[in-house]
Symmetry: C2
Subunit: 269 residues, 2 copies
Amino acid sequence: MTSLDDLLVPPGSKVRLADRDPETTLHYADKREAKAATAQDAAEIDRLQDILYAEGRRALLVILQGTDTAGKDGTIRDVFNRTGPIGIRVMPFRAPSEEDLAHDFLWRVHRSVPSRGTIGIFNRSHYEDVLVVKVRELVPADEIERRYEQINAFEKMLVETGTTILKFMLHISKGEQKKRLQARLDDPRKHWKFRAGDLDDRARWDDFQAAYETMLSRCSTEWAPWRIVPADRKWVRSAAIASIVRRTLEDMEPRYPVPDWKPEDFKIV
Amino acid sequence: MTSLDDLLVPPGSKVRLADRDPETTLHYADKREAKAATAQDAAEIDRLQDILYAEGRRALLVILQGTDTAGKDGTIRDVFNRTGPIGIRVMPFRAPSEEDLAHDFLWRVHRSVPSRGTIGIFNRSHYEDVLVVKVRELVPADEIERRYEQINAFEKMLVETGTTILKFMLHISKGEQKKRLQARLDDPRKHWKFRAGDLDDRARWDDFQAAYETMLSRCSTEWAPWRIVPADRKWVRSAAIASIVRRTLEDMEPRYPVPDWKPEDFKIV
């Protein structure tokens, strides 16, 4: 049985995704139990987020990465649907614009980090710049090679200035992806999610897995470690992430700020 | 009994806030009934928002205005807490930055409008530029005078290019504001919401009400009418707004897009 702690990628270690079981149910007895735990954690995340917002000093950044159909949108729905929209913002990273490309690769990322008091969720992220960009050879290899350390330094600065970072790689099997892509073709309500380009990426499955392994190995740091989340079962994936987000917020111990005035200083007329 | 339709400010009419009862319970029998209706509407808003997102062609902009303690944050919580964070974004408009002030007053607003497929919520808005800015005489009177038509033209362009606009003025009485400000002093969990500046604004209550009346009269248009929501009772306020947002989304009739391909065009290997 894999525990939630085992999902961590120890800094400096070498990741082999084949060693990570995407189908494990972790410590959850069944789907019902996992869903109940997720709902409880989601309610607690909402409650803690309210205090984090009132405190207004620190931020939480949740980075979600995974191949197509890995379940990024579903995770956001299951874990954060209960969280008040005032204090949370989802940032989807699609193909960069011309203006983005006219800057360094972290430019558009930096302006999207969460403000103090809020939770930011990156749906994809700067890690695409060492994943799809690497597999498709969109920039020279030596430039990509430098990016791992550039990312680590950037994230370190964020952590040192008050942002806690959680990074989740949603790990699905090639067989599970096939089922999910097929479902997007078969179910008219999922047609809008289907993109022919997803099949091109699937054809390079091994290249993507290798790029993931390199980035997980190079960018799991003490200050912002990666976690590899078994994602073939959606209820396991969401339960694991909800639990970790909740525990992280608990560890942050957000508190209502103590004002620099006394209630009796004011009289309301 | 006031119906939801009576909340509308007819374009071209002259608003007198004294004629609008902030305490009315509308058609709701009691708090329990109103809260149940709000919860149902919130779930339906979440469902419709998913389809609006899938459709990806149109946006909904919800503008919330009201004096301090009028309940803007509470409205967002009650009506939109169930909505998935992927398709919703709250934009708080605080005091403008130096960069904002170096541009026309609609510059920061325009870059904050919701993208296609999403719901944007303005917590305060460009209307502050004809409210607090007017009361405090932060810009010359003739410049403010021009803003009403500038706002109307700006909103017309947004509507014509695919954004539906809902504008709610949360109407509370001076007595209710006193209670709520006092609660912020008395309850340590609300201390963080208290600002001494709120008392300065309260001292100019009549000036603010007059500025609201002018702006409601001048900027309630066929394409983006104002609604004055009775807000002394939080459950009435939230139930009314949830109902109107739901009906608006229903009237928009979002649909899953029809793809330009056939499922049988693809084979997933």
